[in-house]
């Protein structure tokens, strides 16, 4: 292999990190335009990190197993929300409430993840679009259960949760009982910026778990399956089972992530909260420099910071620029879809370029010999 010159190295670095670099540029312009103080920005970013990281980390394991971006994490989000509805109804508050919601969500997540994994095994090579649509389909069932099932079939005691007609859960559920309870546990302030050490500890624990998991036999099997299913199968690895396991783990983590996310926000938007969470998490991960085929913990953190920093500054920057704050919300959706599209296209372009390289090598060989 030839050594690359510095210029080539820089170009390659830029080509491989197009999306994160683009965001750095946007933010470099947006931050001064918005006029926010550094303390305010730091506080906001830290709050977003504590709110979103867990959710994004749940995407890592299916990528490891070669199943791409798991849009099916929406399923886990629904399970998490159902857990929250129950614990709110039972009136369990604070950290025990969070823990109980997690416990309730786990069997649901496992069931949904297993089912989703089964389906994805039937649609190998089209996992992403399939999981995306499964999310929509499951949303229908979720609505059926929550809107009609809860009340008559599944006992909900608290009238505050039920719609005035007597069955079905209200559009918004107030999570006042558990709101910020984990964040406020071990809260410290550094230079006026509140840091929710409790939540960060949980996230650190999860990160360590992911790193450890990659070292386990199951993690190694997932890597093998992700690289080449047929080679893995020939070596005796149970490919289908391994893939299902990766989706189950992802769904369970997404459920926990959703509970942490909602506990930070403080209200549950019963019929909407879960719908866009998959897309925003995927976009944040991609902004952090991950691709369909490889994602690391550092991509998660970089992604959360860059993606949300842009959200924080864009409304104000928009207002200063053209006098409209809606720009922020518009940007949020527009940019998310844009980032996902760009990343998917870039991934294919890169693959194609690498394939083209082997042809070029042949041509070069030929010149040398002739």
């Amino acid at each position: 292999m030839r050594e690359l010159s510095t210029k080539q190295k820089i170009l390659r670095f830029m080509a491989n990190n197009t999306v994160p670099l683009l965001f750095v540029v946007i933010i470099a312009f947006g931050v001064p335009l918005s006029g926010y103080s550094p303390t305010y920005l730091a506080g906001e970013v830290i709050s977003r990190i504590s709110r979103n990281t867990f959710l994004i980390v749940s995407l890592l394991i299916p990528i490891l197993a070669g199943m791409g971006l798991n849009f099916g994490m929406t399923l886990g989000a629904m399970a998490g929300q159902i857990g929250l509805i129950f614990t709110t109804d039972w009136g369990i508050v604070g950290i025990p409430g969070i823990l109980l919601a997690m416990i309730v969500s786990t069997p649901l997540s496992i069931l949904l993840g297993w089912w989703c994994g089964k389906i994805l095994n039937m649609a190998k090579g089209r996992e992403m679009v399939t999981s995306y649509i499964i999310g929509f389909f499951m949303n229908g069932i979720y609505q059926l259960v929550v809107l009609y099932g809860m009340g008559p079939l599944i006992k909900i005691i608290s009238p505050n949760l039920l719609l005035p007609r007597g069955y079905g859960i209200r559009n918004t559920v107030n999570l006042i009982g558990i709101r910020k309870s984990l964040d406020n546990f071990l809260m410290i302030r550094i230079g006026g910026v509140p840091i929710p050490v409790g939540t960060f500890l949980v996230i650190a624990l999860l990160s360590v778990f992911i790193l450890w998991f990659k070292k386990t036999k199951l993690g190694q099997d997932m890597r093998a399956v992700g690289q080449d299913m047929e080679v893995a199968r020939a070596a005796g690895i149970r490919v289908e089972y391994t893939r299902i396991m990766s989706i189950i783990i992802s769904t369970v983590l997404a459920g926990y992530g959703m509970i942490i996310y909602l506990h930070n926000i403080g209200t549950l938007n019963t019929y909407n909260s879960h719908m866009q969470i998959g897309m925003f998490s995927v976009a944040a991960l991609l902004v952090g420099g991950a691709t369909v085929a490889s994602a690391k913990i550092r991509n998660v953190f970089l992604g959360v910071v860059l993606f949300h920093l842009m959200f924080i500054v864009s409304p104000m920057a928009g207002k200063r620029l053209i006098g409209q704050a809606q720009l922020g919300e518009y940007f949020r959706v527009f940019v998310s879809y844009g980032v996902i599209t760009t990343s998917l296209v870039l991934y294919e372009v890169r693959k194609k370029r690498e394939r083209g390289m082997s042809g070029l090598a042949l041509a070069q060989d030929q010149e040398v010999t002739s």
Binding site: T216, K217, L218, D221, R223, G236, S358, A363, D365
Partner: protein, 541 residues
């Protein structure tokens, strides 16, 4: 070795195999001592792979009715029902195609799914897949296997960054490492290497041969399948030549030369196939297609620096062993795989990587991938036969409004299809039948008809008789020969079957290692072609 006088390590007696009445192996007998290296040679389709599949108890063999005869390992009869059984008795195999994970290291690949584990608490709760990998011990075992092989292979190197030779070593090291990580009784006893040197450079091949000798001196027997005859002579103790499912010769390698082996491999003394008797006049014919410095990046059929001239009106054959690049030539010229170089057709240079430009110029291609590239399987015969002509040449269309609107001319389509159905004896219920429902042979005829319908000036036909029965075979070959004579179309035919090429073509080019190794008139001695196929210069025999 304590069993010099005892039973041989492996003995095969009266092995036979047929696929639904089609006999591919008959009465195979041979035995192998510990540490012996047996060279197995034969043309494609001679039965080498089938024999190895029987030895390993592959599913394919059971699903097609098992095999006849018996296999003994150290005197005990065995009948493996799966490759795992074979492995347990100490038989390992390295395949032609690599079975490696690209983004993992050599060590990880060597120990794939046999990694030594460290116990963790989580495994008590969730099963042993949550034990962590024991990297240190992995490296030790992998290094042990690499050392045993005696090659400079870095265990930490990623497979995707390795030269081809190291990939091969990784595969062999994987087989060797199995004794340390599975419950094998006494380690690897027999290793089968299926064309391990085909993709290696000379130097790499040399170190592989050295490694083979090392293994042999440790008492591991090796069955070495290769087309590189010199290597076989260099490294093997015994050479076994197969042809048409039989063992033709089993000789000690001493004193044998390459020409002898080539003779045994291809030498059919009696030949029933009709010979092409015409003598093509090369002096008076122009060069219609000239290929210069062509490279083609077709996986498994790489073409390097090919120069070839095709004369107007001839039938040129391109032969060679599988994987040497003969299929890459038409696929590259036609733009189906990335290619570079220069092609001049009828004095005009044509751009590469654009199928359309070649089709427009009057070059047609009957692909070897009949069902993938050749046919629209769920469309009717009519459509299949006329589609290309309609697209490229605006044939079978009725024009209205000065050509603004063109409609399909159903009547013309039907007539054309009927013509070819009769001419090529395509067996079908009607011309509206879907291509998928036809047999392989008839599908091939449809592919030919589709190419004929564009009335090409030059026709590439790739593996026209692959997977079709004998009756259909001779019909297809006759059709090609007749088409060439009647319309003067130049034909370039690519085939793995030398005899088939010799029966149809005027000249035959043999491709070896991605290059045209040589071109001879079809009437030349078949042993000469045999030698060229294995990359040997033709000496006067």
């Amino acid at each position: 070795m304590n069993n010099e006088l005892g039973a041989p390590l492996l003995e095969m007696q009266h092995i036979s195999k047929d696929y639904f009445g089609n006999e591919v192996l008959s009465d195979i007998n041979f035995s192998l001592r510990r540490g012996e290296i047996l060279g197995l040679v034969g043309e494609n389709g001679a039965g080498k792979s089938t024999l190895m599949k029987i030895l390993f108890g592959m599913d394919e063999i059971h699903q097609t009715g098992g095999y006849g005869g018996s296999i003994f390992i150290e005197g005990d009869e065995v009948r493996f029902t799966s490759p795992i059984d074979a492995l347990a008795s100490g038989i390992g195999m390295v395949h032609q195609e690599f079975s490696l994970l690209p983004d993992s290291t050599a060590t990880e690949n060597i120990l794939l799914n046999r990694e030594p584990l460290k116990h963790t608490l989580a495994s008590e709760l969730f099963g042993e897949r949550l034990n962590t990998l024991n990297r240190e011990s992995m490296e030790k075992i992998a290094q042990g296997a690499i050392d045993k092989l005696g090659v400079p292979l870095d265990g930490k190197m990623l497979v995707s960054e390795m030269p081809v030779g190291h990939k091969q070593f990784t595969e062999i090291a994987r087989e060797l490492s199995k004794e340390a990580t599975t419950e094998m009784e006494e380690g690897l006893r027999l290793l089968v290497l299926d064309e391990p040197t085909a993709v290696l450079s000379e130097q790499e091949a040399e170190s592989l041969l050295k490694a083979m000798r090392t293994l042999s001196s440790e008492g591991i027997a090796i069955i070495f399948i290769s087309h590189r005859l010199q290597e076989i002579i260099d490294v093997c103790d015994t050479i076994m030549v197969m042809r048409d499912g039989r063992i033709i010769k089993t000789v000690p390698s001493e004193g044998v030369n390459v020409t002898d082996i080539a003779h045994w491999m291809v030498g059919r003394e009696v030949n029933a196939a009709k010979r092409n008797t015409r003598t093509f006049n090369y002096e008076d014919s122009k060069v219609v297609l000239s290929i210069r410095n062509l490279w083609v990046d077709m996986p498994g059929e790489t073409v390097r620096n090919v120069n070839l001239d095709v004369h107007d009106g001839e039938i040129l054959g391109i032969g060679g062993m599988a994987g040497q690049g003969k299929l890459g030539i038409p696929n590259g010229v036609m733009g189906l795989f990335p290619a570079g170089g220069q092609i001049v057709f009828q004095g005009e240079e044509l751009p590469l990587n654009q199928p359309r430009s070649l089709l427009n110029a009057g070059v047609a291609f009957v692909s070897e991938d009949r069902r993938g590239v050749g046919l629209l399987l769920d469309e009717s015969l009519e459509w299949n036969i006329t589609f290309t002509a309609m697209q490229i040449q605006d044939k079978f269309l009725k024009r209205y409004l000065n050509g603004l609107v063109s409609w399909r001319d159903q009547k013309a389509i039907e007539e054309e299809t009927m013509k070819y159905v009769k001419q090529l004896e395509i067996r079908c219920v009607s011309t509206r039948q879907n291509a998928r429902e036809l047999s392989g042979g008839n599908q091939q005829k449809v592919c030919l008809a589709k190419a004929f319908a564009v009335t090409p000036k030059l026709l590439f036909v790739s593996e026209p008789t692959r997977g079709i029965d004998i009756g259909a075979k001779s019909l297809v070959l006759d059709a090609l020969r007749r088409y060439n004579q009647e319309s003067g179309t130049t034909i370039v035919m690519i085939s793995s079957e030398l005899e088939e090429l010799r029966s149809v073509c005027d000249r035959i080019a043999i491709v070896n290692d991605g290059k045209v190794f040589g071109i001879l008139p079809a009437t030349s001695d078949s042993a000469k072609f045999g030698l060229m196929m294995v990359g040997q210069e033709v000496q006067e025999v």
